[in-house]
């Protein structure tokens, strides 16, 4: 009964979305206020219905109603409650409902809190939002209904794939979806602006929080996913350049570019058409990501179950959305008035270069992701494009990006002083040189890429600190610096945190790629192996029973010079519902390195295969990612988003602060 209500609410939401995508748009065109005003209650109602529908689905999972096909396929009555709930979005149908729910949530936010938006712009934004919603709801109801019933209810479900029974599932997909769908808001604003035919600083101020929000949640989602893929054996480590990973990374790159170009629109009224294009591309990449993950046209380590019919439907949706919006862009963009002038060496210039580099990076990732598909279709052989391609192509293009990330903030708007900026960055240059020397000494020599990575990280980190120190005039009186520090706009802190976080993450990436160690051995209980200066002894291996699985749990003692370092307990699990065994790693982390231990099959004579990886500095990756996300959050709380458009006085004040 509740399930049917959920299904019915979904259909009603579609009807409402259809109305919301047509009526306010016509109203905005013909200047009919009541028609435009309809968007607001429709958006709130749509969110309410989608929420109802989602709750109904979660309810079906919680009570283990196996007469619902999706519940039968993905849940089991013995599953812990958290995985029963998470299973609701751990599959194709449910994850789509979550997608649309978040879409509805953002729509409702605009409707409820967008009071400072002009009515016409607001109704257009909500109409575009509703069109996206309509597309996905039709897709869901026609090809992937999460509420479909089975003719005969089985007694027991087939359980959530054991690989997915992990806290990662509870947080990673919702975060990523918040990011994907957040980009749809920037997209809706961009389309609405094209329909209006005008883009100004106010528009940029409305778009930027949405871009920030989606960038922040995308960052969180990617970091969580990377962490999950790292501790799950066989998913290729913290980053494998897998198509599904790339699918989330491309929108992130574009969102990063958009975040930076929107600053130029807001402050300098320039780069308007480019910013609109980025907003469209960002969402296009989100849709493409959804398409890649759902359709299975590209082979991936993490893909969901596939169905070609769905793929074609999403491809059609993608073609309509991207083709339509790009045509609109080509038609309407020329009427956007070009804005302020600036010299090539200036804050704007550095942000343009940042945008170009990010766009080129996204293009190379896109090419690497789609190349196997293209070659296969053209019958040129089956290839796979893996990490080596991306390390050859991506890293060299990303390096100048990091280089200018430290320089850009020192350049003034309109016309910058490059020698002056470099002079102020002298300490960062020295730090880079020290980092090279230190890495060389610690690692007994290293590859060029490893040294360059460490040098760039030091350059960016120290450069960012110098920039902050300059803003608060550190070195003068401490009290004055303090009062400046607390009066700096939050968005300035956002940048400082995000850039510093990037530097920290680069340290981790470089370290774990360059100096990873690995050893495999067959051990009997009591035997040990040495990796570096640490010895690992297999102390014990025993059978344990937990909720819904049995496991062989090994106890491995890591010790250094006779000193106990860590106790590690990797497992091989056999879930109760017949399925292949799964391997659970055990990890001991500190700032210097991770020890990563897995236990494999027994050899039948009392020995167990044990594999040990030592991954230097890997913790820094997630620490850096976390700092970047924190930067996004801090920036989101900036005064100008909380209180709406700033008064002239405040604006001048913050400009003075920003220049100081």
């Amino acid at each position: 009964m509740i399930t049917e209500l959920g299904h019915y609410a979904l259909v009603l939401a579609l009807v409402l979305a259809l109305a919301q995508s047509v009526i306010p748009l016509v109203g905005a065109q013909r200047n009919l206020r009541p028609w435009m005003a309809l968007a607001q209650p429709a958006a709130v109602g749509q969110f309410f219905l989608l929420g109802l529908s989602f709750l109904a689905l979660v309810h079906a999972y919680v009570v283990s109603d196996f007469s619902v096909a999706a519940v039968y396929e993905n849940s089991h009555s013995a599953q812990p409650l958290i995985y029963k709930v998470a299973a609701a979005w751990g599959n194709h149908e449910g994850s789509l409902l979550l997608w649309v729910l978040i879409l509805g949530f953002f729509g409702a936010l605009v409707a409820a809190f967008g009071n400072n938006l002009p009515l016409r712009l607001k109704s257009r934004v909500l109409a575009v939002q509703a069109m996206i919603s309509t597309g996905f709801l039709v897709f869901m109801l026609l090809t992937s209904n999460p509420f479909a019933r089975l003719g005969q209810a089985p007694l027991e479900g087939r359980q959530l794939n054991p690989m997915l029974q992990d806290p990662g599932l509870a947080f990673h997909p919702p975060m990523l979806y918040l990011g994907y769908v957040g980009l749809s808001m920037s997209f809706s604003f961009a389309i609405a602006a094209l329909l209006e035919g005008s883009v100004d600083a106010a528009w940029a101020r409305w778009v930027r929080p949405w871009t920030l929000l989606s960038w922040t949640t995308l960052t969180c989602g990617i970091v969580l996913g990377s962490r999950w893929a790292y501790y799950e054996l066989g998913w290729g480590g913290w980053w494998y350049w897998d198509p599904v990973e790339n699918a989330s990374f491309m929108p992130w790159l574009i969102a990063t570019a958009l975040l930076h170009s929107a600053i130029v629109v807001e402050k300098r009224d320039s780069l308007k058409a480019w910013t609109i294009l980025l907003a469209i591309l960002g969402f296009a990449f989100s849709m493409l990501g959804t398409f890649l993950v759902r359709s299975g046209v590209i082979t991936s380590v993490h893909a969901f179950a596939q169905d070609p019919a769905r793929g074609i439907f999403i491809l059609a949706l993608l073609a309509i959305a991207i083709g339509g919006s790009l045509s609109l862009f080509a038609w309407r963009a020329p009427i956007l008035k070009p804005g302020g002038f600036f010299a090539p060496i200036s804050r704007e210039g550095s942000l343009v270069l940042n945008n170009l580099l990010l766009a080129v990076l996204a293009a190379t990732v896109l090419f690497g992701t789609l190349a196997p598909l293209i070659l296969n279709v053209m019958n040129l052989g089956t290839i796979s494009v893996g990490p080596p391609y991306f390390q050859t192509v991506f890293v060299p293009i990303a390096m100048p990006l990091v280089l200018i990330a430290a320089i850009g903030p020192f350049l003034g708007w309109k016309r910058g002083d490059l020698p002056g900026a470099l002079q102020r960055l002298a300490a960062a240059g020295i730090a880079a040189a020290i980092a090279i020397g230190f890495a060389w000494y610690m690692a007994d020599g290293a590859s060029f890429m490893a040294l360059a990575g460490m040098a760039l990280a030091a350059w960016l980190f120290i450069g960012t600190l110098i920039e902050w120190a300059g803003r608060v005039k550190l070195g003068g009186s401490l009290g004055a610096s303090w009062s400046r520090a607390i009066r700096l706009p939050r968005s300035a802190y956002g940048m400082t945190l995000a850039h510093a976080g990037l530097a920290v993450a680069i340290v981790g990436m470089t370290g774990s790629i360059a100096w990873k160690q690995e050893k495999v051995a067959v051990l009997h209980v009591g035997q040990s192996i040495e990796v570096g200066d640490t010895s690992y002894r297999l102390d014990d291996i025993r059978k344990v029973t937990v909720d819904n699985y049995l496991a062989d749990r090994a106890t491995i003692v890591a010790s250094q010079n006779g000193q106990l370092l860590a106790l590690l307990t990797p497992e091989r699990r056999q879930y109760l519902v017949p399925s292949p065994p799964t391997t659970e790693s055990a990890i001991h982390s500190n700032f210097a390195r991770d020890v990563y231990v897995v236990v494999g099959e027994p050899d039948g004579q009392g020995g167990w295969t044990v594999r040990i990886y030592v991954e230097p500095l890997v913790l820094w990756i997630w620490l850096g990612g976390g700092l970047m996300a924190l930067g996004g959050v801090v920036s989101l709380t900036d005064r100008r988003y909380r209180v709406g458009a700033p008064s002239k006085m405040l604006a001048r004040k913050s400009e003075v602060a920003a220049r100081a």
């Binding site: 359709s295 596939q306 796979s384 050859t392 292949p580």
Partner: protein, 185 residues
Amino acid sequence: MTDIKLGELRANTPRRTMSRKTRRLYLVLVSLVLLGGAVALVLAALRQDIVFFLSPTEVAAKPPAPGRAIRIGGLVERGSLRKLGSDGAVLFEVTDLSKSVKVRYRGILPDLFREGQGVVIEGAVNEQGEFIAKEVLAKHDEKYLPPEVAKALKASGRWQESGDQTGSDSPGGNSTGNNEGSGPR
């Protein structure tokens, strides 16, 4: 009002018009340099870093250069799996039912690695002509055959004999993952 502004700009600031043009020129130049660099890198990567997929028959007919990374796919030959010594090394054969390739691997085999099952292996041939696996990928589903493996079997003309073919014809195959997220089907 804006017309006046534009008119003003055009009338009295030839320097600015120049700088606007120069700016554009700079932008185009920088974009070209970046794109050119990216294309050069991509071409270099396509030469070295692309991994081709070969069937055991293709490997037997034309052995790839030693050290060149390739992927092979097929079924694990029944009765061919041997464990060597205490360092966790294993030896097995991958077959497309007409030719087979000996593979040596050190490490933990994927949880679903079984004799008679489909497998995709990435690695390179060494000087002795042995295939040294860097990565062994087996799909987490008993009934599934990676599309590359299905292709290898089809190419060798042994498709009909290859036992279980469920799902192998779907174009949207997920082949390379040893642990992928689809529920057991």
